[in-house]
Symmetry: D3
Subunit: 136 residues, 6 copies
């Protein structure tokens, strides 16, 4: 299995509901360093898993929808705790949709799975990985 | 699959038996930077894989059993080479026992697998990963 | 010159005023990975720059004043942009005050300077360094 | 599953063919920080996945075949784009051959799979992972 | 003293002349992860050392002059070994010129010094630091 | 000012004397990731601060004197706490002696200062920096 991973970051505000979260129930924020790993069994004719330029642009576009926002105000997340693991799945789904739309270019329909990791500090991170349905 | 990972560290002394180990047969030591990754297919109602506060405390408690010790003197490791890979499995088993005891709180019975990575330097690390039996 | 550095982190929300900041004028947040470096020309009798246990506790206590807060609501920062560089100086001043109070224990009056670095992402960080007045 | 990983690096020149690559169609170069992860279900009698000394030497020997070269001039890569993902598979195959030759010593016939990761910068990396045929 | 640092990277080919360089006398290449640290004694009215957006853009523009090139073909470096330390000074001089041109915007005339670090691998890096003449 | 830095590591056992050290009074150990930074105002004719090959070999030789040892048994450290900051100065002095002996080759008499950093974990490190007397 081949994989290619690109890294970017996003800075957001949010708060959590539930005693579990202690002081994180108050409005605070995070930098998430975001890694998106694209996986495929065979390389395309150019020798790549995906066009890394298009993949990076797609990640920037995707993250710009979240960047510099208070996630508590986003209707997309109403009633949800925007935990690091939850946001990992959000980035996964949005990248999957961009792949399905053809935004990542020729050969991206051969991508099989994705892993999205969000690093919230030097001592904690979360991830979501799954198959891309059409190739599942 | 969702995952959450927490990082801590431990500083121990030990020696190895076997020509394979060359100069590491002498008493020396290591800092292990320890990553424990908790995995689960679905998030709980709060949107988390595990209560990261409890997970971190469990890891600190677990590592305090090893920290600042000469592992050559520990009866738990009698007759064993406490290699980085062996210790990864020790941390795995001890964390699994803490999960089984309920120490990680509500929902931790839904955890499915763990991966423990011990970084012994900037150029070498080892890991053990496996399922948590009850969910296997 | 000897130095010892300890690392921790803090997660906050805030917004900036000024066209310079573009989209960061909106409420957002950050994880700051915080390094505090303590410097001294000669080691004390135990062979240390400072009691690293006390230094780490002081850093945790200091950061807990900021952690999980919306800095826009803090009177201490009224009228200020809480930029990464500004917050570096805030941590510097608050650590200097804790040193002056004796909180870091015996020998900490021999500390000469501090450098505080706040990492806001994998691609940007800021720092403030300066002398501790009494030893200036 | 146990794993052990060793890290080294290699510095090469190359160019790519295909519009996809934009300015990277010109002769340029890269440092690849190379991680090779060796995996095995059970530890050997010494408590190791593989003799890490021999594994490191094998990696150095393998990388010295590529180091300080213009890959465009290597007959082994004629007609190929030596992308990061392609080179990950090259390192995988060459390490697999070294394992098969017995170069990694006693017990290395029990290795089951390998993962090779090449980091091309702080924001991009690629990997190839697969089973070692004899144990597949 | 305040500082702000931004990170980017560049991928080049080159060769060295001199027995000192051993196999690096052959055409090879490198990824340089480039950190540029901007320093200033007092913050400007917005609370920043420099407009980090403009600083990042200037760094990207500067590095694009070198990126994906064979430095052996650049007339700017004729007769020079483009070592990591030499290139650190090149980036320093070119960033200083961009600052002098006003490209970094209001307040950048208050910058006092720069430190440029080029990381060539996980085990080696080089740097050049110096004052900006007008503020020297 | 130019600088070049090389990284290696060493794994030792030791214990500390003094209540200050709490549980670290017991025999334990550490991995130190060791950075040695060589500094010089002007580059030599080849465009380097120091022959990085010789510098790396000197660092390996120096660290092999400490590696896989129980520092409590070393007469060189009798009556000393081998703290991270103390060991930083030890590495500094031993590297300075190797430079003075000519071991780093032509031009190394132009080196002006050194900074030695020992990373003991992902959250703590210590350093010693100073001038090389002959160039002081």
């Amino acid at each position: 299995m081949f994989s290619v991973c690109v890294r970017s970051h996003v800075m957001i505000a949010h708060s959590f509901r539930g005693e579990l979260f202690g002081p994180a129930q108050k409005l605070h924020g995070a930098t998430y360093v975001v890694d998106v790993e694209f996986r495929r069994s065979e390389l395309g004719p150019e020798g790549v898993v995906v066009d890394i330029g298009r993949a990076s642009k797609a990640l920037e576009a995707l993250l710009s929808e979240l960047n510099f926002k208070n996630l508590d105000d986003e209707t997309a997340f109403a009633g949800k705790n925007t935990t690091t693991e939850y946001l990992s799945a959000v980035v996964f789904e949005r990248m999957r949709a961009r792949i399905a739309s053809g935004e990542l270019g020729s050969g991206s329909d051969r991508l099989e799975s994705l892993k999205v990791t969000l690093h919230e500090s030097h001592v904690a991170w979360a991830a979501f990985e799954g198959r891309i349905a059409e190739n599942g």
